[in-house]
C-alpha cells in the first residue's frame, strides 16, 4: 500500500478517478439540483452563479448535477464493457495458450484478428443500425472490441508462463490444462490484466462519450457527458461553459485512469513491457 501511494502517477491518478467515482456514487443519494426537470427561468447561468457552482444549461439544469449523474453512465458503460472483455477474452486467451499451435489456438487468434479489423465505432454503428441506439448497445459494441485485446494479452503472457518449471511440475503431478490455466497461469497474469483493464476502462469512457456525442449511445433522458457536449455545440458561441465543463470531466477521468494504469505498471513490475504485436 505504501508503494502504491509513493508512486506519484498512481497517487494523482487515483485522486482524479476517485473524485469522479465519488461524484457518481453521491449522485445516487443527492445532487445539488434535480436533473430531470426544466427550469427555464434559470437557464444558461454562468459558472459560479449563486446556487449553481458550474452554471446551468439551456434548459436551466444544473451542470454540476448533470456531470455527477453523467459520470454514472460513463463509468457503468466502461465497467461493463471491460467486464465483457475480461470474462470472454481471458478464458479464450488461456485456452489458446494451453493448446498452442492447435486448430483451436488458430481459430481463436484468427477470429481475434478479425474483430480487430472492426474499429469499435464501426461495430457500434453496425449494432445501432440494427438494434437501434441505446446505452446497452454501446456497451456491447465497446465490450466486443475489448475481447481480442484481453485474449491477446492473456495468450501472450500465458505462453511464456507455460514454459516455467512450476507448470511442468504441475503437469507431472497430473493436473490437466484447464486446471493449470486457472490455478497457475491466471494468478500470474492478473497484474497485467489489471493494468490493461485501467487502460481499456479509460478508452471505454472515451468511446462512450464519442458514441453518445453522435447519438448512438445513451438516449435521453439519461444524462451522459457525450450528449451534453452534443447539445452544447449549437450554443458554444454564447455559452462556452456548457461545452467546456463536460469535456473537462472526460479529460480528467481519462487522464486519471491512464496515470493510474502507468503507476500500477511501474509498481507491479518495473520490467513489464507491454506486449507488442
Amino acid at each position: 500500500m505504501r508503494a502504491l501511494l509513493t508512486n506519484r502517477n498512481f497517487a494523482i491518478g487515483l485522486l482524479l478517478t476517485s473524485v469522479f467515482v465519488a461524484g457518481a456514487l453521491i449522485s445516487f443519494l443527492w445532487t445539488p439540483h434535480d436533473t430531470s426537470g426544466v427550469d427555464i427561468a434559470n437557464k444558461l447561468k454562468k459558472p459560479l452563479s449563486e446556487g449553481y457552482l458550474l452554471g446551468t444549461d439551456h434548459f436551466g439544469r444544473d451542470i454540476l448535477s448533470m456531470i455527477m449523474v453523467g459520470a454514472r453512465t460513463s463509468i457503468a458503460v466502461a465497467v461493463v464493457a471491460v467486464g465483457i472483455g475480461i470474462v470472454i477474452g481471458v478464458p479464450l486467451g488461456l485456452a489458446a495458450a494451453a493448446s498452442q499451435g492447435s486448430l483451436m489456438d488458430e481459430i481463436i487468434m484468427r477470429s481475434n484478428d478479425l474483430v480487430f479489423a472492426f474499429p469499435s465505432l464501426v461495430i457500434a454503428i453496425l449494432i445501432t443500425a440494427i438494434f437501434g441506439p441505446s446505452a446497452v448497445n454501446a456497451i456491447i459494441a465497446i465490450g466486443i472490441f475489448n475481447v481480442p485485446v484481453f485474449a491477446r494479452l492473456t495468450r501472450g503472457a500465458a505462453l511464456s508462463l507455460w514454459k516455467r518449471d512450476y507448470v511442468l511440475s504441475a503437469q507431472v503431478a497430473g493436473k490437466g490444462p484447464a486446471r493449470i490455466s486457472f490455478e497457475h497461469i491466471l494468478p500470474n497474469v492478473t497484474n497485467l490484466l489489471i493494468v490493461q483493464g485501467t487502460i481499456q476502462f479509460s478508452l471505454g469512457i472515451l468511446a462512450e462519450a464519442g458514441l453518445s456525442y453522435v447519438g448512438l449511445g445513451a438516449q435521453p433522458p439519461i444524462p451522459s457527458w457525450g450528449r451534453m457536449l452534443a447539445e452544447s455545440q449549437t450554443m458554444i458561441s454564447f455559452a462556452p461553459h456548457m461545452a467546456l465543463l463536460p469535456g473537462l470531466a472526460i479529460v480528467f477521468t481519462v487522464l486519471g485512469l491512464n496515470l493510474m494504469g502507468d503507476g500500477l505498471r511501474d509498481i507491479f513490475d518495473p520490467r513489464i513491457r507491454r506486449e507488442k504485436r
Partner: protein
C-alpha cells in the same frame, strides 16, 4: 492453417481439377453459383488454390514471396469472413426493407414486386453471393432510399473522408516524429517531461471535444477558418483549408500515441549493443541516431501507424459530424436514420476492407524493413 485443411485442399483440388465439368454441373443447379461462376470462374479457382495449397507450396518459395503469399492468404480469408459477418449481422434486422420503403398502406403485390426488384425474393446465401461478387467488381448495390448506385454515393464521399484521413495521418507523423525523437534523445530533460506531459493529455482529450474548442477559438473568435461545411475540390487550397481543423482534431490523439511509441522504441534501440558499437567506431551521436537507432525504431512505429489508420477512418466519422463535412461518416448516419441498411452495410464493409488492406500493407512493409520476420508468420 492446419494440416486437416491441406487434406481438404487436395480433395477440393481434385474436384476442381479432375472433374471440372461435374463440379460446375452441380454448381449450376442454383442461380447463385451460376452468377458466382460467371463472374469469376477463374478467380474462384485461383482463390481456392491460394487458400488451400499455399502450405504445400510454401517451403519451396523464397522467404519474402512465401511470407507475402501467407499474408495474402489470411488477407483473403479475413475479407471473406468479414463480409459474411457483416452480411449476416445486417440480415438479422427485423422488418422488411421493401415494406419499410413503401410505408404502412402498401398493397401486398406492390411489396412483392419491389422485393423482386431489390432481389430480396431469393434465398439468403444467393443474396450473399450476389452481393459479394458485386463487391469484387466495385458494385455495392442500390440504395433503398435514393435508388442510386451506392458506389456513386460512396465515391463522392470518399473524396472527403480519404483525404481527411491521409491529411491527419501526415500531420500526426510530422508532429510525432520530432517530438518522440527529441524526448528520447534528451531523456529526463525538461523537453522530455514536457513532451510526455502533453502527450499524456493528448491521449485523454476526446478529439470531437478538441474539435469543438478549435471551432470556438479559430472559427468563432478569430475567424481564421470556417466552422464547418465543405466548398468542394474546385479550389484545392480552399478545400484543404476546410479540412485543416478537422485534420488537426483527428491528428492530436494519434500524434500523442505515436510520439510515445516513437520515444519508447527509440529508447530501446539506443540502448542496444550495435548503437554502442557504432559510437565506438567513431560515428557521432547524430549519425548513430539517423543511421542505426532510428531505422530500427521504425518497426514498432510502423505497426502503430497502420493501426492508427483504422482509428482515423472511424474517428473521421465523428469529426465529420462536428464540422458538417459530407463524408462517409455523414452518409452512414443519414443511412442509419433512414434505415437504408444496404448503405450502412457497404460503408462498414469498405471501412473494414480498408483496415484489412492497410494492415496487410504494414505486414509486408514490416518484412521488407526487418528480414527476420519473413521466417515465421
Amino acid at each position: 492453417m492446419c494440416y486437416k485443411c491441406v487434406d481438404i485442399a487436395s480433395w477440393v483440388q481434385g474436384g476442381w481439377r479432375g472433374q471440372p465439368g461435374a463440379a460446375r454441373r452441380i454448381a449450376k443447379e442454383t442461380r447463385g453459383w451460376t452468377i458466382w461462376l460467371q463472374a469469376s470462374s477463374q478467380g474462384t479457382e485461383i482463390l481456392c488454390i491460394l487458400l488451400f495449397t499455399s502450405r504445400a507450396l510454401l517451403p519451396n518459395l523464397r522467404p519474402m514471396l512465401r511470407y507475402t503469399l501467407s499474408r495474402l492468404q489470411s488477407l483473403i480469408l479475413s475479407l471473406i469472413v468479414a463480409s459474411i459477418v457483416i452480411f449476416a449481422t445486417v440480415e438479422v434486422v427485423p422488418g422488411d426493407p421493401a415494406s419499410f420503403m413503401l410505408g404502412m398502406n402498401a398493397q401486398p403485390d406492390t411489396i412483392a414486386a419491389l422485393r423482386e426488384q431489390l432481389g430480396l425474393d431469393v434465398p439468403l446465401w444467393q443474396r450473399y453471393l450476389h452481393w459479394a461478387t458485386g463487391l469484387l467488381g466495385g458494385d455495392f448495390g442500390t440504395s433503398y432510399t435514393y435508388r442510386t448506385p451506392i458506389s456513386e454515393m460512396i465515391g463522392d464521399r470518399l473524396w472527403i473522408s480519404l483525404p481527411l484521413a491521409i491529411y491527419a495521418l501526415t500531420l500526426s507523423t510530422l508532429i510525432a516524429f520530432p517530438a518522440g525523437i527529441l524526448a528520447a534523445t534528451r531523456r529526463g530533460s525538461a523537453t522530455d517531461v514536457g513532451v510526455m506531459g502533453i502527450t499524456q493529455l493528448g491521449v485523454a482529450i476526446p478529439n470531437f471535444w478538441f474539435a469543438m474548442l478549435m471551432v470556438l477559438v479559430f472559427a468563432i473568435n478569430l475567424r481564421w477558418f470556417s466552422a464547418g461545411g465543405f466548398p468542394g475540390w474546385e479550389d484545392p487550397l480552399l478545400a484543404m483549408k476546410a479540412l485543416t481543423l478537422p485534420a488537426i482534431a483527428l491528428a492530436l490523439p494519434q500524434a500523442s500515441i505515436l510520439a510515445r511509441v516513437m520515444r519508447s522504441a527509440l529508447l530501446d534501440t539506443l540502448s542496444e549493443d550495435y548503437v554502442r558499437t557504432a559510437r565506438a567506431k567513431g560515428l557521432t551521436r547524430r549519425q548513430t541516431l539517423w543511421r542505426h537507432a532510428l531505422r530500427n525504431a521504425l518497426i514498432p512505429v510502423l505497426t502503430i501507424i497502420g493501426l492508427q489508420f483504422s482509428f482515423l477512418m472511424a474517428g473521421a466519422i465523428i469529426i465529420e459530424n462536428v464540422f458538417f463535412l459530407p463524408g462517409l461518416g455523414r452518409l452512414v448516419f443519414q443511412a442509419i436514420s433512414q434505415r437504408d441498411l444496404i448503405v450502412v452495410e457497404s460503408v462498414v464493409m469498405l471501412l473494414v476492407f480498408a483496415v484489412i488492406i492497410v494492415n496487410f500493407a504494414v505486414d509486408i512493409a514490416y518484412a521488407i524493413v526487418d528480414p527476420r520476420l519473413r521466417g515465421n508468420r
